[in-house]
């Protein structure tokens, strides 16, 4: 396509160059069709991932053949998610195409109110709620990373969705997202970070603020007087423990042997089935206290960030403007990576 070069060539050479260019483009078109086919047909998660990874990078723009850009990168991420869940028999996430040929996801049992789409930014795609643009989790196919955003989880589920849905419905809505993360881990060896959705005992979530004014804990203590839960002192005076139902305990504590006194939340329960997120969702006492004191109590998102790969950065294709992530709208009050 270099004009100065083609001008100096003979007609025969020029035709050959043109034919070669067409061949390349058609080859690319064939590859595109094959990848779409693969993503649609395969039952092998590795092949789903491989097809998706290539499709999201494929640029069909060229001077010779006008391929209609039917779907965008964001759509392939969503189709990939839908296909992987489908393979595992999870049908709570419904992926469908709207009139603008965009794929959107709806999640049972909150399908009637909210929809989700991926927002692509470089190698990372954020599964984003469309109303308030909350990026619930980030997916990085190239580096095989999947991580939830604690801040967005609180903003979307605890602050907003809870006004129109029951805690039980929202817990059910979160389940397929956790299932997707677990499938990525088991089928495709992804590194996953469930954040505050993690139910394992012993998981702790550090607060953003380096210090905690103890009067904030006093407020929780005072609030417990109105109900049956008790706030206990931890044995080494390193924080407090809220004793909830069925042996569930929420700690707001620091490691007594750590001079930095980094405060954290941790939930322990006999069956390791309750997350910090669940306690926020279920207990009005905790939710109100947490949201009233959110600037003091917000937990960190601890998002893994990989150093950009210099060599491949040139191949990166800027997504069309429809998919430019609207980072600005995410920063409602401060650093978006901090919950």
């Amino acid at each position: 396509m270099n004009n100065s070069k083609t001008l100096s060539s003979s007609p025969r050479e020029r035709l050959t160059v043109l034919a070669d260019s067409f061949k390349d483009v058609l080859k690319m078109g064939q590859k595109y069709v094959d990848l779409v086919d693969q993503l649609a047909q395969t039952e092998d998660p590795q092949e789903m991932l491989s097809a998706t990874s290539q499709l999201v990078k494929l640029d069909l723009q060229n001077a010779f053949v006008d391929f209609p850009q039917h779907y965008q990168a964001a759509d392939y991420y969503l189709i990939f998610m839908g296909r992987l869940l489908e393979k595992h028999g999870i049908d709570a996430v419904q992926v469908s195409e709207n009139v603008r040929h965009e794929f959107i996801a709806r999640i049972e049992p909150i399908a009637d109110s909210d929809s989700f789409k991926f927002m692509v930014n470089g190698d990372e795609a954020a599964f984003t709620e469309q109303g308030e643009q909350e990026p619930l989790f980030y997916l990085d196919l190239k580096n095989r990373l999947m991580q939830f955003d604690n801040r967005a989880l609180v903003n979307y589920f605890i602050v907003r969705a809870l006004t129109s849905h029951s805690d039980l419905d929202l817990r059910n809505a979160v389940k397929p997202l956790i299932a997707f993360a677990n499938e990525l881990q088991t089928d495709l060896d992804f590194t996953i970070n469930l954040g505050i959705l993690n139910t394992e005992n012993g998981r702790s979530f550090n607060l953003v603020q380096p210090d905690l004014d103890l009067t904030v804990i006093d407020q929780l203590f005072v609030a417990t007087a109105e109900n049956d839960y008790m706030l206990m002192n931890l044995p080494k005076n390193n924080g407090a423990q809220l004793v909830l139902d069925q042996g569930i305990k929420l700690d707001i504590a620091f490691d007594p042997d750590d001079y930095s006194q980094q405060w954290f939340f941790a939930v322990n329960d006999p069956t390791a089935q309750v997350s910090f997120f669940d306690t926020l969702l279920h207990y009005h006492l905790i939710r109100k206290w947490y949201l009233d004191n959110r600037s003091a109590l917000a937990v960190r998102s601890d998002k893994m960030v990989l150093a950009p790969d210099e060599e491949e950065s040139d191949e990166y294709v800027e997504p069309t403007e429809v998919f430019t992530p609207q980072v600005g709208t995410l920063e409602e009050d401060g650093d978006q990576h901090d919950e």
Binding site: D218, Q219, V222, T224, A225, L231, N233
Partner: protein, 297 residues
Amino acid sequence: MIDEKHENKAVDISSLIERQIAAKIKYLQELNEAVDAHHDREVYQLLDNQRYAKEIEHREQQPNNQGVMSLVNDLADQLSNYLSVKLIKYLGKTYPFFYYEEYQTGHYRIYFGNWWDRRQFGELDVLNVRFSFDQTEYAKLQKSFELAKDNKRYNSDRIEKISSENDRLQGLIDHQREREEERQSVESQLEEINARSGLFESNKNKETRQELVDQLQKLEDEEQEARTASKTIHENEQVVLSLSKENTILSYEQKSIIDTFGSFEDFELANRNLYADYLASLEGGNSEEGKVSADEQ
């Protein structure tokens, strides 16, 4: 010793000494054996025979032999430490909300509860099997049980008073604009009046002017207070928080007592009977371990 009458001094003084020494040796031997076998009930009997006879055997008028008992006076702290092991284990079951800190050998501070904020509640008198409650703290608890009958809490009145003061201060802050408008209007009225006042000012004019000056002063006072109001509100909120905290501590304490004893009266009754109940639980010395584990089941 003084009570005993001995007419024949020459013979009896040495036999008296022998008898007394024998009694002391016997006492020390019995105590030694009881301690050795960890027969705490017997130890308690030896340490206060009078009380033991009265409260356990229901025999009145059994005087203590101070002459032998005083032998171990200087071991009080060690004996207290020794006897505390079983006693605190027993109290752990019967008074599950009390916690103890041995701040020096044989001396125990009582803490009420292990919750976020708790009170030091007095001391445990191990040798006498008795709580020695801090009277100020105890009175608060007693008072809050009384108030609970009227659905009130210990600091409710004070909290209410401070809260309404905060509402008033917030009102001052919220009405700053109205106050400013009023001030301007009063000032311009005052200017008008001042223009009309001369050497021969009417009384009515004087009165009105004084009223306006007073009004202006009141507005300025309010403005002055409004300037520091948000700081005062914040300070008051901290006071309310600490008062609420005390309310919460008291409500935890009440809840614990009700959960364990049913009522404050039953709690007090248990305190009065603690010595008898505890020693009874020790079952004469040998089988107390069996008793404790039976309780656990």
